[in-house]
Symmetry: C2
Subunit: 200 residues, 2 copies
Amino acid sequence: MSESTPARRRGDDLERAIFDAALAELAEVGYANLRMEAVAARAKAGKASLYKRWPDRAHLVQAAARHKATEVEPDFEPSGDLRGDLRAIMRHIAAQQATPFGEAIRGWVGELRSTSAESEELRTSIETPRIRIFAKIYEDGIARGTVRPEALNPRVVNLAPTLLTHYFLTRAEPANDEVIDEFLDQIVLPLISAPPTPAD
Amino acid sequence: MSESTPARRRGDDLERAIFDAALAELAEVGYANLRMEAVAARAKAGKASLYKRWPDRAHLVQAAARHKATEVEPDFEPSGDLRGDLRAIMRHIAAQQATPFGEAIRGWVGELRSTSAESEELRTSIETPRIRIFAKIYEDGIARGTVRPEALNPRVVNLAPTLLTHYFLTRAEPANDEVIDEFLDQIVLPLISAPPTPAD
DNA sequence: CCGATAGTGAACGGTGCGTTCACTACATGC
DNA sequence: GCATGTAGTGAACGCACCGTTCACTATCGG
């Protein structure tokens, strides 16, 4: 029968199951109330298997977040509609924050104390794909003359994600569509848009 | 003698002592490792006195942060030097984040789950005085013609604090002077500055 | 098919939580 | 200045979860 041998998992297989369990628990109870025992039970794994891999809750959650973060972002091709493209990406990021992944990030932030290689790694693994996409959009806009070349400055490229992340971290939920539009129309677009070419 | 009667404190007196102890502990061990017993011991108070006032660690820290936040910010008068004024205020905020207060904020963020009246209150009690100061600076700049009137938009007024807070939350430490200058020169000033009055 | 490797599940001591209780210091009204 | 109520102390307690250990078992590779 199907019950007799429950098919014991190992290695990456098991690891993925643990990540899934951790993220599911995060969604249900939040980082602060995450119990290692609950994660283990949910993953149908022994606690020892968790502690064999990660020294504590913080590292487990960080690893789970990194796991999710590295799942390939769909490659994005600018459509030429600058505002529309930015809006789509920003909504995508906000939607991601509404996910267990967002809860993992919140927990990670709460636990941060000193700059560690691991936490730097998590941060860049989240930022890098976002930077790539925004840079692509801005490059496209620059080529079309709608965006100022200065928009490619790293801090500027990171601005939109920064606004979304800050909003998410300091409230209970991600920015909704209206807030995203405000970010766009009041901050991002005014900053990056090329002047209306008066003498061209 | 001085030792015989240790002068038992009550009410606000005791409460302040507890806040001080909590903030000192936060500075030493961080939010994640904050122990109620340690706070009580440091404040030379009974645990019961803590739990009489706040239901748990999260509420205590939130209250301590609010307590610090409402300590009056020195009233700031714009000097006319837009960049210099902004730089001074931003450095002030960054310095505040390097303080136990910053650690309290980090803990509060990590614990946030749903929008509660208390957490909204903490957020606005931090934002409001900052908004007042930045608005004052921008108004002054508008009067002098160096700042665009659109700078008074709430999201724009909040931009500089947002950048600082996001930086602080996602790293182990607050923005240093160089980062602040980059925020100013690459984001804030380009966004708020009035165009160089070509036809005036 | 056998040895090595990796996972399971239960048990354990330790620690901090949040509560309770008998006791004590201070504050107030008389 | 004495009696009474109020607020704080400090120790103790049960509990939940932590992180570890161990005897056992399933799976993998040769």
